[in-house]
């Protein structure tokens, strides 16, 4: 009898163990991962776009040389993992970055991946090859790369004009896949070929994007999913209802606003929802080349008038962050310390005192209770732009500015900004990588294509280079803080707030991690699985 009991206990024990391992998440293969997509991307070529509407559906098709760990929310140099590269090494002078490449990788069309593909991709990005991208929005990322060389089929090296430790982070972004040499940029826009865990199946504009499992993926056993289907739903209410009713396994990443998140949780209480900062700042672009903002006092008054907490309270029910150019801590790696931030004019906690100072500056410039400054606040005709613009207009009233909303069609926004046909503009700036090199050079360097205000300060530019070359992280941080503080004091592009947004998925979707300091890098989905 005892032996029977012992046997029963043993069986129960084994069952319990197997159940525990199952409950702990033994990945299951199969299933189609269904996500709704917020809009129809203009093409399928990640290198030719500058919106994460492209990264989310097409990042699973590709691989990078290196990539940020897909399961650590905070991207940093320490979370960079090899992908097409087996390893990498910096030269002693920090001017050459050499990658040893994997030998077992094939493109989806069966051709082998070699170092020539790496050279091709980056030559095109640097504008050095015969084949050209129709658009090349991140060309400036590689300004310090002198050339990319190969040594045989499985070694590629980036030779730099000067040390740039940030290059590795730029290469780890979702914006930096390696493209095949043998496929033209035009084909990559319509039928992309990659080495990644999923193969491109079809892209029907305004309808759907379908990807299928790559059975020859070089990471054996991956991906778990049979495929991923993105249904393009531009109407947000319909999309959310689709998720709630179970038609989709996940919302479009970082697309659920804080107020909407409550609805989702109320209607789908089992849904897993995560709110994270997305490293997108809402900021003001100031035309300092013509009146009234050619007057430094009025620019300073503008910076002093902002009640940033009010913006965050109204738009995100308090779930947003105040900071400078770099994403605020703790998710942001390069954020100024709180005391330093609050020492910048307009960032102090006493809003009324700030505004009193602003009113004095306005009076000095010839404005006052009897003579208000009339101007327009221009912005794009998109809700995330319009809503803060309206709050801004309301806040400007406190410093004798009567502003009117000037809503600009998307097609006209950049031409209008480029020809300086605005006084104040409300703008959003997304950062693909939480690194000062990406943010400073792109948005504030003299002559940069995305420096909409043409802010140009040669002294600060020297500091850009100094921090960019610095290999000691702590020293670099201090330089970055100094630069960020100066940019805010110069009212180069006053930052109002950094947003947070939500992502929800069904409880049976496993291995999803939402990045907390970029919304461009976390969509490889190679080990996502469905516990169904």
């Amino acid at each position: 009898m005892r032996s029977v009991q012992a046997l029963a206990v043993a069986v129960l024990f084994v069952l319990a163990i197997s159940d525990v391992s199952y409950a702990a998440g033994e990945p299951k293969s199969g299933g189609i991962f269904r996500i709704y997509h917020r809009d129809s991307p203009g093409s399928a070529s990640i290198h030719e776009g500058a919106t994460y509407s492209l990264n989310v559906p097409f990042m699973p098709i590709f691989n990078n040389l290196v990539i940020f760990d897909q399961h650590i929310a905070q991207n940093s140099v320490s979370t960079i993992r090899p992908e097409l590269a087996e390893s990498w090494a910096w030269s002693g002078d920090n001017k050459t970055l050499t990658f040893k490449l994997r030998k077992d990788v094939k493109w989806h069309d069966g051709k082998p991946f070699t170092a020539a593909d790496v050279k091709c991709t980056f030559d095109m990005l640097m504008g050095k090859s015969q084949q050209k991208f129709r658009q090349n929005p991140r060309k400036s990322w590689y300004d310090q790369v002198d050339e990319v060389t190969t040594n045989g089929d499985y070694e590629a090296a980036f030779k730099l004009k000067r040390p740039q430790p940030a290059l590795l982070s730029l290469l780890a972004s979702g914006y930096t896949p390696v493209y095949p040499c043998h496929v033209s940029p035009a084909e990559m826009r319509t039928k992309p070929v990659g080495t990644g865990p999923f193969k491109f199946v079809e892209f029907k504009a305004n309808e759907s994007i379908k990807l299928a499992k790559n059975p020859d993926y070089f990471k054996k056993g991956l991906p778990y999913l049979d495929g991923i289907e993105f249904t393009i739903i531009t109407n947000r209410s319909t999309a959310i209802l689709g998720f709630v009713s179970g038609k989709f396994d996940m919302t479009f990443p970082t697309e659920v606003s804080i107020p909407l998140l409550k609805d989702v949780k109320a209607q789908a209480p089992n849904a897993v929802c995560v709110v994270e900062p997305n490293n997108v700042s809402t900021n003001i672009i100031v035309n300092s080349t013509s009146p009234p903002f050619d007057n430094a006092d009025i620019r300073r008054a503008l910076a002093l008038s902002l009640d940033r907490k009010a913006f965050i309270q109204i738009m995100f029910e308090g779930q947003g962050d105040i900071g400078g150019t770099m994403e605020p801590a703790p998710q942001g790696l390069w954020a100024m310390p709180k005391e330093m931030l609050e020492s910048i004019p307009g960032y102090g906690p006493n809003i009324e005192q700030n505004r009193e100072e602003a009113r004095k500056l306005m009076q000095k410039a010839g404005y006052g209770p009897d003579k208000h400054l009339q101007l327009k606040v221009s912005t794009r005709n998109i809700a995330v732009y319009r809503d803060p613009a309206i709050i801004l207009i309301d806040q400007l009233k406190s410093i004798y500015i009567d502003a009117e909303l000037d809503v600009v069609d998307t097609a006209q926004w950049f031409p209008k900004v480029a020809r300086k046909d605005y006084s104040l503009g409300l703008n959003l700036t997304g950062n693909a990588v939480d690194d000062p090199d990406q943010s400073f050079y792109e948005n504030y360097a003299c002559g940069s294509e995305r420096n909409y205000t043409n802010y140009c300060n040669k002294d600060i530019e020297k500091l850009f280079d100094k921090q960019s070359e610095e290999t000691d992280v702590e020293k670099r941080k201090k330089l970055v803080w100094e630069i960020d503080k100066k940019l805010q004091e110069d009212v180069a592009r006053p930052i109002i707030f950094h947003a947070r947004t939500g992502t929800c998925w069904a409880p049976y979707v496993k291995n999803i991690t939402v990045m907390s300091n970029s919304s461009y890098n976390g969509y490889r989905y190679e080990d996502v699985w469905l516990d169904k």
Binding site: G42, N136, P137, A205, T238, L241, K247, T410
Partner: protein, 315 residues
């Protein structure tokens, strides 16, 4: 009758030519083109890249050359390439036409099959509680925007049945296949049914007061015969006209309905193409819609002539 048809066909051609010019010019008057949009999406403007892209897409050519190139292609069945998807415009447009046609056909069917009988009932029972109730229904139909009604239907479906009838290209059951078209068709057809109901009612009321109706009753004809044989036959003429006009207006209603129910038809596609300033798609789609409207009007006029001999003889 032959001369009437020939004249109408000639007028159709002139109208279509006029429409083609208007579409073409209006599209170019709207500020911004696909290149502006692409660079706006990329967040930067590079004048050299922009000029290259404009040259590649032929947007740097004089407007007359662009127009002649489009019309020339159209006459040879070449609709050009979509600027966005870089696929032939015909391949983009053709698969979407049956989807919208099914939806529009069902909406019109809903409109006529609900609107005409209820309009007759309302007229025959003028002043009764039933008449008042039907008039409230018809006024509601005219007042409720179809996108709002569509969203309410979706919310109710999710809340009551835990699912919703949004588009699925591969429906699993015939019931799903039916609902993905029938529900949005009802949402968009409700307004049209309400209009049809009101027109039928007022037209019937006018006819029911005619002497020949009194004569029919005096001769002992049954109420059904008087209402449906004598009255409705004559009352239906303005209703046909309204349904014809509604068919043309339906495209406008379908834009929001296709968006709310996520149906990949031509109406929603047109809006997206307009947003991207995808000229080849917009021009050809609007031209297609214009042809449908002109042909629908032609058919309505022919029906009119077939039903009312005075029209063809008067002609």
């Amino acid at each position: 009758m032959f001369a009437y048809i020939v004249r109408r066909l000639f007028l159709m051609l002139i109208t279509l030519f006029g429409i083609s010019v208007i579409i073409f010019v209006l599209l170019r008057v709207v500020p911004g083109n696909i290149v502006d949009i692409l660079f706006a999406a990329a967040g930067y403007v590079d004048p050299a890249d922009k000029a290259n892209l404009e040259r590649e897409l032929g947007l740097n050519q004089p407007i007359v050359v662009q127009y002649l190139s489009w019309i020339g292609g159209l006459l040879h069945g070449d609709l050009g390439y979509s600027y966005v998807s870089e696929k032939p415009a015909l391949d983009e447009i053709l698969p979407r036409i049956p989807i919208t046609a099914r939806l529009a056909g069902l909406a019109l069917l809903f409109s006529a099959s609900i609107g005409i009988p209820l309009g007759v009932i309302s007229a025959v029972h003028q002043g009764s509680r039933l008449d008042y109730a039907l008039r409230v229904v018809s006024l509601s139909g005219l007042s409720l925007p179809s996108f709002w009604l569509g969203l309410l239907i979706l919310m109710a479906s999710v809340s009551m049945f835990g699912t919703m009838p949004i588009f699925n290209p591969n429906p699993k059951t015939w019931f799903e296949a039916f609902t993905i078209y029938a529900v949005p068709a009802a949402a968009v057809g409700f307004r049209s049914a309400a209009l049809t109901m009101r027109i039928t009612r007022s037209s019937m009321l006018e006819i029911l007061r005619q002497d020949y109706i009194r004569t029919a009753r005096a001769k002992g004809a049954s109420e059904a015969s008087v209402n449906y044989h004598h009255a409705l036959k004559n009352a239906v003429l303005p209703v046909i006209t309204v349904i014809g006009i509604e068919a043309a207006f339906l495209i406008g209603g379908l834009i929001v309905t296709e968006t709310v129910f996520n149906i990949p038809g031509i109406a929603r596609f047109l809006v997206e193409a307009l947003r991207w300033r995808d000229y080849p798609i917009v021009q050809n789609l609007v031209m297609f819609i214009a042809v449908v409207v002109v042909v629908m009007n032609f058919i309505v006029d022919m029906l009119y002539a077939a039903i009312d001999p005075r029209i063809r003889f008067g002609d």
